[in-house]
Amino acid sequence: MKKIINDPEQVVDEMLTGMVMAHPEIVRVNGFNVLIRKESKKKDKVTLISGGGSGHEPAHGGFIGYGMLDAAVSGEVFTSPTPDQILEAIKAVDTGKGSLLIVKNYSGDVMNFEMASEMAEMDGIEIEQVIINDDVAVEDSTYTTGRRGIAGTIFVHKIAGAMAEKGASLSEVKRVAQKAINNLRSKGMALTSCTVPSVGKPTFEIAEDEMEVGLGIHGEPGVEKIKIKSAAEIAENLVDSIVEDLPFKSGDEVALLINGLGSTPLMELYILNKSVQDLCRKRGIKVYKTYVDEYMTSLEMAGASISMLKLDDELKELLDEPADTLVLKQGGKKDD
């Protein structure tokens, strides 16, 4: 394992410390792995809390700020945060208007956030929760855990964050978050594994000429291992499953997110984007807005995921609203 670290047990703590040193607009809650928006309590609005295991940087702390999250909770690497940490995040930003917890569909995240919301409700804080399940690689069945949540989560932060900023009620913020989830599909692929610092060796083995298709964001193996293909063929594999799932139809307008998993150069992400947009055009799907960058990574894994959000007028308007976070900045600066 070659990594720029001091102690595998301290990676989360030291990362968070380094992060607030670099970004004075976010604050760490003393003694907790919780980052919050500076002075967020001054604002009379529904608060948005997200989080999960560490190793997905810039998610989730990178999306704290105007128009998106109020607080982010970090667990250990690829491990859900514990309920006491989540509760602290909820309390740290509570304005009295309630909190929406944005949770990805992993058993650990679901259970820990559920315990935290039970605890917050005992403290008199109104809580709503949405579960993101955008990954089409995973079979959705009533007999299983269902689909996991991956990079499409960023769209949910953006849509719900814009609604909360308008002063909407908790139920309204939840409604648009759920609408985004219902219209959101993603799929990812990887060329290499990542190495969890405390484990010290790659999570899975993969040959030089192979790729994992349909994997998640924790270095867990994908649903199939196949021979490496061109960007155009990779795009086709991912886009076909995404488009057929919702389904996205000719005439639909979508927002596109091409997400890097940690060690894929922007060059390759842009090439993938070109291939994806070609496919959309062929299928008569109009791309309204495109985001290409690293939003939700899997440590140093090489690979990418594609997310598509089907838009209507309301979602378009919320997507266009300004955001001022560490990573996503659009439409001019808005101060807290």
Binding site: G53, G75, E76, V77, F78, T79, S80, P81, T82, P83, D84, Q85, Y106, S107, G108, M111, N112, E114, M115, A137, V138, E139, Y143, T144, T145, R148, V196, S198, V199, T203, F204, G216, H218, G219, E220, P221, V223
Partner: protein, 211 residues
């Protein structure tokens, strides 16, 4: 069969050291069908539990178990934190005020732990989870054990737990992260089923006086 407070403390300490010893093994099992953190997480949790024990050593067994549950919930994370945490909290609630447990208490304690697990994780036997190891043990405790000696009972629960843990290998995972792998989840032991077996083994070893 009786189990006093000192034995409870010893069981927990032995579970902690077995988690430490099996840290890499559990993590390896988890990297095949999960996200490679089960051993690390369980070790972190039980290390914190051992540090916490001196604070509650003079309390009743119920309080000790509830404190263990709370500590696991706030240090393990992932899915195993809330699952084992809830199991220990439910087990603790069942034996509130007790300084020594008899066979009936122990039966109730195991049943309550399973109830907590199922409530939190909503898994059924056959889903390839911790529940697969624990359910047959609880079922065995439900049967009439009058004619058996303590040692026979303790040996039996360990072999039942071992068999049921091994039986998770060919199963298709229906809960947790392994379920995302569908067919690819077959052929691997469930890491949670294994850690649960390790706990039951330590429990029996202390009561048999061999650990």
């Amino acid at each position: 069969m009786n189990c006093n407070k000192e034995q409870v403390i010893n069981i927990i300490k032995n579970i902690a050291s077995t988690m430490e010893k099996n840290k890499e093994y559990l993590t390896e099992l988890d990297s095949a069908i999960g996200d490679a953190d089960h051993g690390i997480n369980m070790n972190r949790g039980f290390k914190a539990v051992v540090e916490k024990l001196p604070e509650v050593e003079d309390k009743c067994i119920g309080t000790i178990l509830k404190t263990i549950g709370m500590t696991l919930v706030s240090t393990v994370g992932g899915a195993s934190g809330p699952l084992y945490g809830t199991a220990f909290m439910y087990a603790g609630r069942e034996v509130t005020g007790e300084k020594e447990l008899d066979l009936t208490d122990i039966k109730n304690l195991f049943r309550a732990a399973l109830e907590g697990l199922v409530k939190r994780g909503k898994a059924k036997p056959g889903d390839k989870t911790i529940v697969d190891t624990l359910t047959p043990v609880v079922d065995y405790f439900k049967s009439s054990l009058d004619e058996k000696t303590d040692n026979e009972i303790l040996e039996e629960i360990v072999s039942i737990a071992k068999e049921s843990m091994e039986a998770t290998k060919p199963l298709l995972a229906k809960k947790g992260r392994a379920s995302f792998l569908k067919e690819r989840s077959k052929g691997h032991l469930d890491p949670g089923a294994v850690s649960c077996y390790l706990m039951i083994k330590e429990f029996a070893a202390v009561l048999k006086g061999v650990a």
